[in-house]
Subunit: 636 residues, 3 copies
């Protein structure tokens, strides 16, 4: 498949007379896709029932006639003021009970039936108008579910819906009381109508309560999206897409993805490094103009899994953004590099956000491919370069050798009960991902519902809440497995299982007790590195001890359980050894240099501020140096 480029465009922001020039310039740059419409509701329906399609008809025609394929967005992330007047209780409430009202975006509660009906209505109207339009080649539902912490709502609508959800899950209140262990602290309910949302409690609420509320909240997103997807399926044959957001874990992306054809995400490497990274300040400084070398790759791999192989970058940062604590310029070349990193992970398309920087409102400081005065911004030329380079390239992902299990429920569970201040599921899994990627490996993300692990030579399972379907898959699996810490330490109801975990196929071990560690009290390991933040006292055959005599790893060389959270050094060593065991060749990549294999191609991508001699670090690489922010690819 040839990599394709595109851009996000807001015809309603610009004079109609400018549209043809814009379209022509997009095509000239080598862009093939243009996304429109996702925030235009107030222009499509300025008053209830007063529909104004004509301008959008003309915009689609101008873009399509220029040769662009259009992604049409449903405008449901930004209901106009009149919708809010009609449904004054449609807003989410925060944990303190404060309204999250009109004036920006995503101002709706997923559980509000009135608003859900409005969303379906405008989706149907839009799809009726454009479902068969030949220029509309894909549809986007809503925009960035969960952005700005909008999955969880403590509204009355959510409370009502939660009770119904619980009744469907548990059937009778006794089952719920048992599952949550409500005999503890006399928290037992007599009927579902007595259950409230887990906010405004005196001290922490029951983690089982929190976990179920999180599951419910995720299901509300799935249902909201499905309602749009069902309408669209009736009226269009174009693929359906949602654009997910980085490190947004409050709903199960796999489940939303099951109702769509393509997964996409919005990739803002510099913004994300500044506003949602666990890395130390020195790291942030070092990569302030490049982004974390692994953060994008990790999400690319997640969304390849969510899209079952079909995925895009729907929004690609082109220059400084407006929303992080600091918003520096990318290094020259990064707008190109980021696109290639995506293509190297199998992206079908990468769309830059946005065509022209808007002079007004919240995002006026967010750069685009053009400046507000229509002069080219630096990213325009880089996009053109990518388009030229991609013109004759055919990339097809054929699967990676390593599977890394990623599970949204585990994120919710450990968030409900971290037990140590630093315990964060994303951070834990990302540490493992980073370590694998520094070893030069290409990685597939696998959901916990996976029932066949045979495609992979190695499977890595950090911090999984409970085995679920994976247990029988593991029983049948013959490859190398690295699991833990904390993996399978709970039941699905968020209780401690008896027998106690991990109950891991092929590993005869029991976690006797656990402790969370201050950052200043790491546990030294015999073979180098430490456990940080978290350690477990495990009974079982030791593969390696900690300096204090407790086993650090138990099981066998091909199937091991880690009794703690390894630091970077320990993780590198442990995973390198596991790769040896799995006969997986590894590299020892220098700072900022990364590799990704796709089909017969190998990509080298340099996030460092300095050049590297490629062939010194990557066997089989072409001779010569790779400059900062540069990309190189060759046939393996």
């Amino acid at each position: 498949m040839k990599p394709q480029l595109g851009v996000c465009y807001y015809p309603e922001h610009w004079p109609e007379a400018q549209w043809p020039d814009d379209a022509a310039r997009m095509v000239e740059t080598g862009l093939e896709w243009v996304r429109i419409g996702e925030f235009a509701w107030s222009r499509l329906e300025p008053n209830e029932g007063d529909l104004r399609w004509e301008w959008l008809d003309r915009a689609v025609e101008v873009l399509g006639a220029a040769g662009l394929k259009v992604v049409m967005g449903t405008p449901t992330a930004t209901p106009p003021r009149w919708v809010c007047e009609k449904h004054p209780d449609m807003f989410a409430l925060d944990a303190n009970g404060h309204v999250r009202g009109f004036g920006s975006r995503r101002h709706y509660c997923f559980s509000h039936e009135g608003y859900c009906a409005e969303a379906v209505r405008i989706t149907r109207l839009t799809a009726e108008r454009y479902g068969r339009n030949p220029h509309i080649a894909a549809w986007q539902t809503d925009n960035e579910y969960g952005c700005h912490d909008t999955v969880i709502s403590y509204s009355d609508a959510a409370c009502t819906a939660f009770r119904i959800w619980l009744e469907q899950r548990y059937g009778n209140i006794g089952a719920l009381n048992d599952a949550w262990g409500n005999v503890f602290w006399s928290m037992e309910y007599r009927h579902f109508g007595e259950v409230f949302l887990p906010n405004l409690t005196v001290t922490e609420p029951n983690p089982s309560h929190v976990l179920d509320f999180q599951r419910f909240s995720s299901d509300q997103v799935v249902q909201f999206n499905r309602a749009q997807a069902e309408v669209l399926r009736e009226l269009t044959d174009a693929p359906l897409i949602h654009n997910y957001m980085g490190r947004t874990l409050e709903f199960d992306h796999f489940k939303v993805g099951d109702d769509l054809d393509v997964a996409s995400w919005d990739s803002y490497p510099l913004g994300f490094l500044e506003d949602r990274s666990d890395q130390p300040e020195a790291f942030k400084q070092q990569f302030a103009r490049q982004g974390d070398p692994d953060f994008q790759a990790f999400h690319h791999d997640i969304y390849r899994a969510v899209g079952k192989g079909r995925w895009w970058v729907m929004e690609q940062q082109p220059g400084p953004v407006n929303w992080a604590p600091h918003n520096p310029d990318p290094l020259p070349g990064m707008a190109r590099l980021w696109a290639w990193e995506a293509f190297a992970h199998g992206a079908e398309a990468v769309l830059y956000f946005r065509w022209r920087q808007a002079p007004m409102a919240q995002e006026q400081m967010h750069s685009g491919l053009l400046r507000p005065d229509s002069v080219a911004a630096p990213a325009l030329g880089e996009a053109a370069q990518v388009a030229a380079e991609a013109a004759h390239l055919d990339l097809a992902d054929t699967g990676a050798p390593v599977a890394l299990v990623f599970d949204y429920e585990s994120a919710w569970a450990w968030n409900a009960q971290p037990q140590g201040a630093e315990f964060d599921y994303f951070r834990l899994v990302f540490d493992f991902y980073k370590a694998l990627r520094k070893l030069g490996l290409s990685i597939d993300i696998v959901p916990p519902s996976c029932t066949d692990l045979s495609p992979w030579q190695m499977v890595v399972i950090p911090g999984l809440l409970h085995w679920g379907a994976l247990k029988s898959a593991l029983e049948a699996y013959e490859g190398v497995v690295v699991a833990g810490p904390r993996t399978a330490s709970k039941t699905a109801d968020m209780q401690i299982p008896i027998p106690m975990g991990p109950n891991m196929p092929g590993v005869d071990a029991t976690v006797a007790r656990v402790e969370s560690l201050r950052p200043d009290m790491p546990i030294m390991l015999d073979q180098g590195g430490t456990f940080q933040f978290w350690r477990e006292v495990v009974e079982g055959r030791s593969l390696e001890d900690a300096r204090d005599g407790h086993p650090a790893r138990v099981g066998t060389a091909r199937r091991q359980y880690l009794a703690g959270w390894p630091d970077e050094r320990a993780l590198h060593r442990i995973l390198a050894d596991a790769c040896d065991e799995a006969s997986l060749p590894t590299l020892d990549l220098p700072e900022g240099l990364r590799v990704r294999d796709i089909g017969a191609w190998r990509f080298a991508i340099n996030y460092a501020n300095r050049a590297w001699k490629l062939s010194k670090h990557i066997e089989g690489a072409p001779s010569g140096r790779i400059a900062p922010a540069d990309v190189s690819w060759w046939l393996k």
Copy 2:
């Protein structure tokens, strides 16, 4: 008295079939006490008036028959959901006016008359059932008053009750206006109905208003507890106990204690070090597996005073807890050491919390003497060791040589008006306590209501709000006194007295002015060490000057006033000199090693990570080394 051990147990959490084994195993371990019932309301009365005593009857019988003495708790800290349905406004409100609702524990406002009546009702029913049961050897009222900041409530019920309380205190509104100085900023009231609670003000409220609200809130706790105590007195002859919580200062424990027979507290050394210590991070790292060497001792001494000599540890941490930012394992031996530290301070009993780690709900990560799968956790063996060691020991406290005055009102006053960000009454008093204890002294805590100081050779009075009853006691006292800083700098109404403080018997001195100091601007003292955080310019006979020429200490060698907050070095020196003056021998204990005398016995307790040669540091100690986490005792 022989030290006794026990444990907290929740029969309602476990199958009835398991009770006999549990009871037998407790006895086998050497435990004599078992506390039950304090969170069981939803099982005792699942619906209003629907009482289910039978299971508890059987549990008491099983435990009692095994030879255990039972502490029965009133279940009022966790009203079931139906109680909250019946009294929908029974919850406390936080300072922002948000409800602190159902879903965890302590979800009630002490001023809500409806809930108070429910609490008395269930207490009466429980006492009627078990008041004369031969296995019930003590009663606990409620559980951890004030835990999770639950003393203060900004509810309507609290406002109404506060107005009545004020009217009783002041009689007429003019007296209140005078006492609070309400002419300032035109805050004068015309009648009591115009007074609101001191929250939601534009800038800080009147400290006199805050102090009275704090006094009122404390009195509400006293009254809530007294109502239960009165019912219990009618129906049982067993001693009444409450289990107080560490560093919980929002109500006057001495006043609650006046209605009870025994004081107890819940001692979680590692959790408290992590979540409520002022010590620097390096200290927390050093003692992360042992706890602060003085924190437990300080509370032991407080509760010996609150219980007028009779006190217990009702809950003793056995392993990692679940509620601190980090929850490490204790060093092997600490579960034994902590018990001995308590017995060395005169505890009648120490009960570990809890028997078996629960697999469900909020505290599922809180360790017990048993793991969730009933295998022994490390603390079980340590408890058995303590029981064996204690079997033939007879300990009786005969009083310490030093009195340290501790006053809840002072904590409230300085919290209402710290004047410097670091000024915290607990921290100040605890600094003095630590210094005394590092000098090898045993200490008695004394309330400000003390009228006879003659039992002590030395009295230390840091930061006392106003003299009150202590003034005439001091006038009659012939021992050494060290007071200040800030002592007696206010009237009981939280005004500056004229003549200005300290008006200290035997010390002719006036505090001309005060200043609070940034942590980076200590004031050097002539004889070593510094004043930190707080310093006063005092007119009086100087015993020592600061480097800037102002007196640092005034008065006489036997009666001195400190014009600042001494740092560790200065405090060590000043108190050592005062001990000399009082003919009190002192030690110079190395890091982590502590001493406590009880009757004819001297205990040495090693909180350090390293061993110490005992006789090198403690004259008269047996030869040999004391290992980390070890305890040694001998007859002086």
Copy 3:
């Protein structure tokens, strides 16, 4: 003009028998002014309509008869409880919707019509009583508008008034939608009644919305003050004054000042250094007892501009205050130094706050000229020294050579859209001010409405939102101009202008793009120093490049635009060079030493902890050393 001293006094706090002594002692100290009345409403009108002037009549008479000139304050900053009972919705709401109620001060919403009428009523009654009283020589309106963040209110009253204000500004809703760019995110309104306040939004609100709300909120303060001024004008000929607060930017002081005769401010050098300074901790430690050497001067210059030449210090810190995180004693001499710094900037009068430290209520720890027991505090003698020194001195400001533009709207705009965490308008302007002052310059602050810049040899314009009236002034100006960064980067509507900024007269340059920088990634400049926090890529003739090759300064030597936020070293160099260009002689003052010229006099003021040899650092200075906290002046 001879510098005059005074003091703030609260006769209602003290027994009437003490007034004559107090008055005599004030006069004896050399004080000429006494401010009274501004918090006395509950004593003037304890119940509605129940007016009690007699005590205040007597107080005025006592003070006046002693020879003091009285400043009478309107008591509207502290409405009594009964006013709040009458107008229960008169309070401001915070951004979360919480009431900011009775119990301290400034508990009113500027938009509440009922309260505004009460304020006018009590002002009228007070002015009717004292408007022609011969002892009343000036009036103060209210007290410290905006203190405790009281300008902004999210009340219903504010929402209603905001809609009216918007309708007056925009005429029709389409104009508002265009000005705010509401097509973005479908934020368009159909009528003004659909607009709410910009709080409780899901993510950040539209910065144009925020800016207009800020303008509205400022106008409400202006209108509130004007209503009092109009009443006072009818009834008195004495000058009208308001006492502004340090670093309080939420309303336009220039506009409030337009309705008054004299500007004043409340100068608390130590409190402000602790609670509202951007300087690093080491700086705060160094000047903890002196205050920032430039903070007072900067405000003096602002208020000289606000008062169009007539200005006072209405409250001068005399010793420790009570409201900062730490409240140290000033160095001996500072109470004198601060007064002289003010006089050197042209102050007509400096009043110490307060006469005697109050023993009660919120400010009982705030020092005065007297201790609570009426003994002299250190500042009393220093005040007397100032009075003696000033007795035969005549100071008249004749204008400074440098103009620094300061604009409240710019503060609001960059607060609404900082784009980088450190971007703060006050901080930026103050950095320029500090650099100029370290060069020994005297500075005039100039509002953006200035239409004639010819009085100054150099004009400095950092971070101005948009040119406005200043553009034609600049076109006509022949002096040296230094502008930027960010200057004129927006339209008045908070949109990006086309053509893009700065559109600066005499500088042919365009800011192509901007970035905000982490504090750890400064941009090195070719000639020394760095850009921090903010940098711009500018197209234009480069005067100096950054090390990365982009221009750092563009334009000409006499008219330059700075493409970033210079650090201290760069700013010193750039402004020194600009002074050379403007033929302005500069000094290179050592740490803490400052100079201010007024008329023919030059003042040297030493904030350092050490002495300096004056003539070594200041050409023409008298020989000898200037001690810490000392002041020296001589005829140039």
